[in-house]
Each structure stands twice: as C-alpha cells, then as structure tokens.
Symmetry: C2
Subunit: 476 residues, 2 copies
C-alpha cells in the first residue's frame, strides 16, 4: 500500500479501509484490512490512522483488534476517547477483554465502565480478574455501583443477568405531552428506546406504549387510553433459554422484567437474545461433538494447551468406554474360534449402533433446546422412534445380510449379522431417546447425550446384542 | 374440568386458560391447555371458547393447533376473523400451514394473505401447493400482487427473500412535521416502525431517522440535519447468513435493502433474523448427526416413513463405508494369525479416529457458520490442530499402550497400539479440518463433514494406519 500524500487522498484511503472493514467482515476481508492498518502503523501515517479509527464501527474495531497482534494495539488505542473505549470493551469477546483491560489505566477502565449500559457494565465487570473488578466497582458513582451490584447478583444465564436497568417509565396518570417530556429528559440514547413503560403508583408495570403512539396522538390524551395492557413480561429468575423463546415466539424487540410484586425492574433487549441463541447453539454443538465443556469461543483462540485440555477428557472417557467392545471382540475370538468371519462385523454393527443413537439423541437434544420435545410426549416419541428405527433396521439388516452372504456365503453368519443389525439399530435408537431424557431429569446438559461418550454406550449395546445373537444362533 | 356457569366464571376460566397458554408454552403446558380446550369443545361451551380464541395470541393459537387433532380445528377456526386467520397462517410451521389452507375457502385464503406484510405473504404463498398459490396470487389486488411476485423472485435464503416492502420513507427535503405527517398517513401498524428512511429525489437511501428524534426535535427542523447518514444496508442478493451476521454484529432491529443503484426497495426486521439463526443452527446440527438433509422440522412431525426416508440414506452410506474397516479387520486376521490380540484394538483405534475427526470437523464447521474460521487461516488452523492433536494423541496413545501392556503383557503389541493411536489421532484431526474446507470449496454444506458419513473416513484412515504400523513392527 503506497503512502497517501494529500489530505484528500488520506481521507479517501481511510474511508475505503473503513468501508472494507465494515462490509467485508468475513475473516478474509478482515485480515486484508488488518494488513493495511499494519502498513499504516509501520509507515507512521498518523493522519490516516486517525481517520481509520474515527470512521470504524466499534464492532469492526473489536474484530480488527482480534486479528492484530497485541503490540499493534497501543497506536490504535491511544486514538480512542473514553466513550469509544467503552464501546470497544463491550464488543470484544471475553478472552480479548482482559487483554484490553491490561492496556488501560485503572481510571480509564472505570470511566469506560461508567459509560456503559448497566447490563454491559455488569457483564464486563463479571469477566474481569476479581481484584480489578473490585477496584472498578468502587470507582463507580454510588447509583451506578448499586445498579451494577444488583445485576451482578443474578446468575448470568437468567433474565436478571440479561436485563438492563435503563428504561423509560411514566406514570399511568400522564398525558402524551408529559410522556414526551419524560423521554426528552431521559439521559439515555433514545435510539434504543422502542417503548415507554407505564407504571402505577407502586411502580408496578401496567402498560406499554410504543413511540409511534406518542407521535400520532394529541398531546392532552391520557396515556391510560392509548397504552397496550396485554404485555409480555418475565421475572428475573427466568432461564435465558426461555427468555429467548419468548422473544422468538412473539417477535419482540424488548421485554420488561418485573419482580414478584409486578414492580418494573429492567428490560431485556433483542440483541442480547440473539447472542443467547447463538451461544446456546454453540454450546450444544460443541457438546455434541465432545469438543468443549465450557466457553465455545476458547477453541477458536491460540491457547493450544487449554484447548487440548478441554477436548482430551471427552476422548479419554470414550477410550475408557471402548475397553468394553475390545473385550467383547476378544470374547468373539474365544467363543467362536471356528468362525473368524464373525469378528469383522463387530466393528460394523458397533459403529452403526453409534450412528443411529447419535441421530436419535440429536433430534431429542435439539428438540429440548427449541421447545419441540418435552417430558410429556416421551411415550409418543419412543413409539415413533420404534417404528422409524424398525424401518431403518430392516434396510440396514437386509443390506448387511446380503453383503455378508456375498462375501462368505455362510447363511448362518449372514442371518446372525442381519438379525443383530436389525435389533441393534432399534435398541440404539431407543437409547438415543432415553439417555437425553434421563440426563435432563438429573440436570445434566442433554447435549452431552448426543456426544461421543454416550455414542460409545450405543456401540457397546450394539456389540452386546451381536454377541448374544451369535451365541444363540451359531453355537445352536 | 367443571363447566363454568355464570358469565363471570366463564370469563375467568377462559382468561386463566389464555394465560396458561401464553405463559406455559413449553410443550407440557401446551398439552394441558389443549386438553382444556378439548373439554370445552366437547362440552359445547361456546361462550368460553369465544373467550379463549379472542384472548390468545396468534403464536399461542398456532402452537395449540399444532397439538390438537385436526378434527378439533373447525370449532376454533370458525371463531376467527380474517385478520386473525392471517396472523395464524403466518405463525404456523410449514407442515401445518397447508393443513390450515385446506380448511379455508379460497376467498378466505386470499383475503388472509392480503392482510399480511409482503414478506409473510410471499413466504406463505411459496409454501402452498402450486395451483392454490396461483389462485391466491390472482385474487390479490394489483399492487399487492406485483409486490409479492417481486419478492417471490428472490431465492428464499437471500436478503430479498427475507425483506418486506412495507416501510416508511420520506424525502430528504422534509421537515420533522412533514415526516410525522407521512407516518400518520402510513397504513401499516406503526408498532413495527422503528425508523423512517430518508431518500433523495431518485429514491436512493441517504439517511435514517429514529422515531425518538421525531419526538424530541422541533417541527420545522429539516430532516437532513437530524438523520444518521452512516447506514448499514444490504443488496437483495446477499446471503441470509451474512444478513444475520450484520444484524448480530451491529445489534440492529431493522436493515434497509437497496438495489445496485442504491434505491431503497425494502427492509428486513429483527424477528426474521432470529428465525434465520435458529434455522441455520437446526440445519447444521441435523447435518452433523446425519439426521436429515432438508427441513429440520420434519423430524418432529408424525410422518414416520418420510423421517425414516431422510435418515436412512446417511446410515446406508455409512454402512457401505464400513465395508472397508471390515475388510481391514479380516486382513488383520489373515496377516497376523499368530497375534490375535491385535484385532480387538482395531475397533478402539477406529472409533478414536472418528471421535477426534468429529471434534475437529465440528469446530471448523461451526467456525464457518459463525464467521470465526475462513480460508485464509487454513494454514494456521492446521498448525493448531497439529499441536493440539499431538498432545491428545500422546495422552491417548500412552493410555492405550499401558492398558494393552497390562492386559496382554506383550511389549511389541503395546508399542504398536500406542504408536498407531498417536498417529491415527493426528491424522484424523488433520482430516477433520481438511474435509470441511474441501466441502466448502466445492460448495457442499460443510456440516456434512462433521457427520457420520465422513467420520467413517476417519475410521478407515485410523485403522489403515494401525495396519501399516502393525506390518512394520510385528512382522519385522
């Protein structure tokens, strides 16, 4: 990249870069942009850097920091005022937030947190090292401190952990003009205010008014006659998955949170819910592959030892479980010395058991996560799986029987293989339904039931069935 | 449930039921509510049914229809006016929408579609049987018909397929008062209007104004001075995943869609994006388990033959693939008649290869879906997997070597098992990265690469490695 010379050129180059960042935030485009920024830093092109930093959305800046090496952060950070640092902190993923905090003075950090909405402030503080977090909380003004401490008391994965205390509420006795007056005096950015909440004299939520109504009705109209009184609301204890489902089902942008008395204490915004959905899907998928138990983000970082550390336990558990099929295989060798042809099918039947079990478990697990499966329809679900797996078992049993017959021409062997395959597929499908139900019953994440550790159980059961059928048919 | 007698009791019972529906939309609660409705229908309690239908959110009504048997639909449907039928059609999942359409007269169906926002109308029409769809389109008023036909021309999974044409736009030469006037004359429900789009004389998007600004500024202020000019927008061809990521990254509620000239042609709303995210996660998860290739919703229906039909191809493909490990196992029996102890480890090493490959592939696949992995960092990713899998391979190799030694006390065997396990785990991890990259390169959904069909390849490679190591060490 050649160094721009005139002011106009500087501006154009920086604008183009900012545009690249924003439009091409696919990692490919991001890395190109990062390379350009590196060039600017090396060339010491202060004016162009100013332009880039000023013209880039905090979310893009966060993505940019994510791919730039940490030594290149300071020349960018020194160009940011507290408001922009505050935005940046909010946008950074957890593992980079700590790194940014280390680049800041304690005062900068507290000031940045003070600028945030209460929910973001609580999230950022919760992720800071404990001593740093304590300092930040103590540096906050009284009111902010109390709000943040209240929010920190709620578990992260509940409505209380998602909500922010910033909202606009008005008395049910107000008029449209008075409501507009309240809005005007609200300090928050009105861009994120979609509704005005209407409360009674005890601050209990009694209605909701959208901004459109305030624009379209005459100023003297009483709010009571214009507000919507059928309102969706949740308690702060509500689980975040269920909050996400309420947003999804009713197409909400914001959801008020009330305590046990109906007192309005906060609101949850749409963007937090999108993050929850993403996070829950991430977690389920990673669990289902036995890839990580904790923060899915970790596997995309460069902390190789920690990544190996979260993936290894799943593998070792599976490896330990595989001792059983190994012993069963050895059992085949001992029990049927005259029919070695049985042995290669051990692996086939075991793997098929695992595959079918993983299909069924995945359907149940995803059904739980999205509210399409529940405890009450267990019986119905089992019946369905029984029919479906019988059909699939017939097809797979027939196919493996035929292949066995073509390979070895031993009818007894082929019959054993076909029958075992049929029964093993049905058994694995049933297990694939029952295990996640059981896990949910005892409060283990059912997603684990679709993972390799449990697939190994299906493996074992399938091979056990094969062993039994072989004993019945072959030695008979 | 005893039959309520007075008007007041009827109202209370119905309200309680409506509340149950709304609050407990977990399937358990839903089925309880459905049972109550069944009771009301059987008891012929018309007044209470009226209350229930009137007091229930269309999304809840849709969920209720989903668990009620179809014969019970008519007593509920006859209580709905066209506006409610329209809402209900929008809310129903695809497979129930056709069923509802069959319960309606052609005229009712056209009227209901006419009531919908353009994007919902297009979605509903796209899912109807072709001849019914044609009739509905022809019954629409000229303007609606043109809008819907325009939208139907965009692929469903693009910005054009998500957008609606309903929006409020004003000229850049307007004042605040004029903008409010335009809003007032907008026919659409203002509840879903969060922004007013500002266009130039050629209808090109030049700015965005939120409703708050209209409330807070004086009537004579020119819009040009108040609007935001840095706007996120997309072209109608943009892929829906990328649209979802724009919403997510910038915390948007609405995103304007412009054509190649910058002309404003529609807007996409937050709730559609939540559905896209859910749908994409559903699809990925189902692909990863080899559970279905098409609509994930299918596996939660009672169409057992069709479900078996989508799951079976994955199983048969895997079964065909498993012929290779079976032959390799047989090869072990032939090549090493003096060391039968090698055979049980075939299954263990194969399964571990599959497990590690599935971990790596899942991380890559989810990384693609969420924009955390791309082509440019393939080299870096491979290097990371090499290090991580070496660490995991060391642990698993050591563990299996030790167990083998304790079991058989044959050092050569244990060495063979340990080395094979180590190499197989590394090879499977590398394959787990390369296969999804390759699938993406040739435009196959990479999620399939984390599924059983490809895990079988890891299986084969792992066992192949074991065979080679055994030939080198044991016969040497």
């Amino acid at each position: 990249m050649s160094k721009p010379t005139t002011d106009h050129e500087i501006e154009t180059a920086a604008e183009a870069l900012a545009e690249t960042l924003e439009v091409n935030f696919a990692p490919d485009g991001l890395r190109d942009a990062a390379a350009s920024v590196e060039d600017l830093i090396e060339a010491g092109d202060e004016a162009a850097l100013d332009e880039v930093v000023a013209g880039t959305h905090p979310a893009d800046l966060a993505a940019l920091l994510g791919v730039l090496s940490h030594e290149l952060w300071p020349p960018l950070l020194k160009r940011l005022d507290i408001a922009r640092i505050s935005d940046l902190l909010e946008e950074l993923p957890d593992h980079l937030r700590d790194d940014l905090a280390e680049h800041l003075l304690p005062q900068q950090l507290s000031d940045a947190v003070e600028e945030m909405a209460s929910d973001d402030a609580a999230d950022v503080i919760a992720d800071l090292p404990e001593d740093v977090a304590q300092d930040v909380i103590e540096a906050l003004p009284q009111e902010d401190r109390e709000e943040v401490e209240t929010l920190l008391a709620y578990p992260e994965d509940t409505a209380g952990g998602l909500m922010q205390t910033e909202l606009v509420s008005i008395s049910e006795h107000s008029t449209v003009d008075e409501a507009v007056g309240v809005l005007r005096s609200a300090e928050e950015d009105v861009g994120e205010i979609f509704f005005v909440y209407v409360v009674d004299d005890d601050n209990r939520l009694v209605g909701v008014l959208n901004l459109g109504a305030l624009l379209l009705f005459k100023g003297h109209r009483p709010i009571r006659n214009l507000m919507k009184t059928k309102i969706h609301m949740v308690n702060p204890e509500e689980d975040q998955e269920s909050v996400a489902r309420i947003f999804q089902r009713y197409d909400l942008v914001a959801l008020p949170v009330v305590d046990g008395d109906g007192t309005l204490i906060g609101r949850i915004l749409h963007d937090d819910v999108v993050d929850v959905l993403q996070e829950e899907a991430d977690e389920d998928i990673m669990h289902m592959a036995g890839a990580t138990a904790g923060e899915p983000e970790l596997v995309y970082t460069d902390q190789l030892f920690r990544i190996a550390g979260v993936r290894l336990p799943w593998l070792l558990a599976t490896l330990a479980g595989l001792a059983v099929p190994a012993v069963l295989t050895s059992g085949f060798q001992v029990s049927f010395p005259h029919m070695k042809e049985l042995v290669p099918f051990v692996l086939v039947i075991g793997a098929m058991g695992g595959n079918v079990g993983s299909q069924s478990a995945t359907i149940v697990v995803r059904g739980f996560a999205t509210g399409r499966v529940d405890f009450q329809n267990l019986g119905h679900f089992l019946f369905k799986e029984l029919v479906i797996s019988s059909l699939m078992g017939l097809a797979c049993g027939a196919m493996s029987g035929i292949v066995s017959q073509l390979w070895h021409g031993n009818t007894m062997l082929s019959l054993t293989v076909a029958i075992s395959m049929f029964v093993a597929i049905i058994a694995s499908a049933i297990l694939g339904v029952l295990v996640p139900y059981f896990f949910r019953l005892v409060n283990i994440d059912p997603a684990i039931a679709a993972g390799p550790a449990v697939t190994t159980i299906d493996d074992i059961v399938a091979i056990g069935i094969y062993y039994l059928v072989a004993i019945l048919l072959i030695t008979a």
